[in-house]
Every structure is written in structure tokens, then in C-alpha cells.
Subunit: 126 residues, 2 copies
Amino acid sequence: MRVRQLCPRLVVSDARRAIEFYRRALGAEETMRYAGKDGTVAHAELDLGGFILAVKDESEDDPSPTSLGGTPVQVGMRVTDVDAAAQAMVAAGATVVLPIADRPYGQRDGRLADPFGHIWVLSQQI
Amino acid sequence: MRVRQLCPRLVVSDARRAIEFYRRALGAEETMRYAGKDGTVAHAELDLGGFILAVKDESEDDPSPTSLGGTPVQVGMRVTDVDAAAQAMVAAGATVVLPIADRPYGQRDGRLADPFGHIWVLSQQI
């Protein structure tokens, strides 16, 4: 048994707006979208520099961070320029939870909350 | 700005037990562990067939699925043998949320909840 892919699957309160946000903020490219009833997004996949991020609208079984009041899973994203990545996210509407700074464990990192309540840990090796 | 890595960072109520579960259930290998105060796990990384899964103990800022009462992020794992993967997870203590079955969209998949409240979507291309 081999692992072919491991990806975060984000549930959001408004998938169409969220996908637009991830495109503008992260340069993500949408590669797949399945529509659910009522025009909701049942499953969409975004390509983020060769990695996959899945996004879907919330439902009875799948609450969003807004409905739950938080999230127990952060999305860790390591990039080549963490300051540029954080600036692009903030420009698109994210808020800073922990500012980007050099850390004693050898990386420059910080945390941002996207407009849909998901928490991103952005980092860069230094 | 290029993306070097995208990984789910799971907050759990007992990281040491959770890491042991992910090792037994998924064949994950621990590659890094930072201890926090009181012997808690501040950050650990597991290698899952070349993909990274991060795990940490909950804290005031980071609630676990147990504390929150759910999760708005599922971990999507595509494998070469989804039935074997699901059986191994169940044998290690996971529970079936949606049984593994062939789906009309061309994959065989299902959902499991691990003992720490994280939801796994296991899939295999058919």
C-alpha cells in the first residue's frame, strides 16, 4: 500500500468566494469542480505549486470553521518567500494571527487567518 | 514565490498517543519532534510515503477536534489499496464514517474517524 497523495480538504461557508480568494491570494489554479445541489460546490481541487488543496461548501455532515467556531487543523505552507506570500494573503483579505518573524528553530514563519476561518502557517527555511 | 510544501497540521488531545496511532495505522515515520512545556508535543512531523503530516498537542490557541466538537478540515489520502488502508486504520482503532465503496465519479473511497477526532477521506483511482 503506497500513498499517492495527502491533501487538506477545507470546508468553507462559501466555496465559490473561497476559491476566488485562494486564486488571488495564493495563485492557486482550479483543476476540478463538482457542483452539488443548489449550485453549491461538492468538491473542488486547486493546484498550489504542484500541491493539491481541496475545497467544498459546508453541509450537515461537514461544518465550516464559521459554524464550529474554529479549526483543529492548520494548513502548513512552506514557500520560497514567506513575506511576499503573507503580503499577498493580507492584500486579498486575510488577517495576521502571528506576524512573520525569524524563529529560534531556524525558520521564518507566521500565522494568518483567511476570510473563511482557516488558519495558515506560512514558513520559509532560513 | 514558489510553494515547497503543503501539509495538514493536526491538533490533537494527546499527541504522543496520536503519533503512535498514525505509525501503527498508516505506517507513518516520525522525522521530527519538538517538546513543549510539561512534556507536551509542540510540533512533530511524520513522513507518510513521502508526504508530511504535522501533529501537535492542543493548547489555549489550538483546540483539538475533541474540544471543538468536530473539524472543518478533512485529511485526503489517496493510496494504491484503499481497502487495505481502511482495514489497517480500523484495526488500530479508527471508526468507519462512510464505508469504502466504488463511487460514480471514478474512484473507490470512504471516510474514517481516527481516535482523536480527525476525519480521513481515503481514496483509490479505479
